[in-house]
Symmetry: C2
Subunit: 157 residues, 2 copies
Amino acid sequence: MTSKLQNEIKKRKPFDRLEEEATLNFLRTEDYLQSRSAKLFRSHGLTASQYNVLRILRGEGQPLPSLEIAGRMIQQVPAITGLIDRLERAGYVERHRCEKDRRVVYVKITAAGLALLGEIEEPLKELQMRMFSHMSRQDLRELIRLLEQVRAAADDE
Amino acid sequence: MTSKLQNEIKKRKPFDRLEEEATLNFLRTEDYLQSRSAKLFRSHGLTASQYNVLRILRGEGQPLPSLEIAGRMIQQVPAITGLIDRLERAGYVERHRCEKDRRVVYVKITAAGLALLGEIEEPLKELQMRMFSHMSRQDLRELIRLLEQVRAAADDE
DNA sequence: GAAAAATACTTGACGTGTCAACTATACTCA
DNA sequence: TGAGTATAGTTGACACGTCAAGTATTTTTC
């Protein structure tokens, strides 16, 4: 009996370990979800990372220091600089240096940024619904539980 | 009641939809798994993509056309060129143009490539075991089932 | 048998993640 | 107060992934 994934990638031998099968399955599935949403973002001139920055800023409701943004994304610090550079150039955010602590740079979402988020909201919601529409509520909840459990190990590090 | 993920990313409002929660959970978890194995690969001078190319070549046991490799990875075609360039420069693969169809480039893993794979095998196995060691066999199997189910929608496209 | 279409890549431009190293500003404490 | 350290961010180099466009070689098709 060959598994579905084994078949997809033309793997000859069955998986040695459930752990390996889970890992590879993960990569495949994530790539699938990722590429679908990336396409949507791109059609609005954004990347997934840029969208995330904007969403964080809108969620907060006020300017945030760059590193705070980096912290809320899963991201390395240096990447955030270029990300904000491009968002600023596109007019979706503004940078302001903090007067009290001149090391800090506050990033603020602009009206244009908010408008763009508004545009994307509906189609993104539809896409998410579509990507999981074939799964039962119960399976979805179970999936979320298992994902959190996988990461549970990360917490004790 | 706030979910674990909601807490991790300091999200204020609870998730509107299970679908959104699943999506974000996915990204987070994948990033966690990815970064752990990337670190291992890097310590052997490889990236995850490079490792995948080598593993595919070893699995096949004979040279493969570039596009066949790209096809077995989840990858866009253009990326494969540079990937193989770097592997070739490092001495882990060789390119040979096919005599029968001169458009085709065969890629072959070298002895050095095989040796490197051998070196990585054990630590990678250990890492995978460790990353999932806190999960029961049953939960692992359930996770794999759900991952495959998520991708089931991809097949009817 | 020549023009058109398909195939197997390759190239270049751009966004992003990663690492290491650097600047500027604030803090600490001796 | 002044040296050392921590913090906030930036820069540069490199590896990808992605898109659009280009080259070289078959294959098709009329």
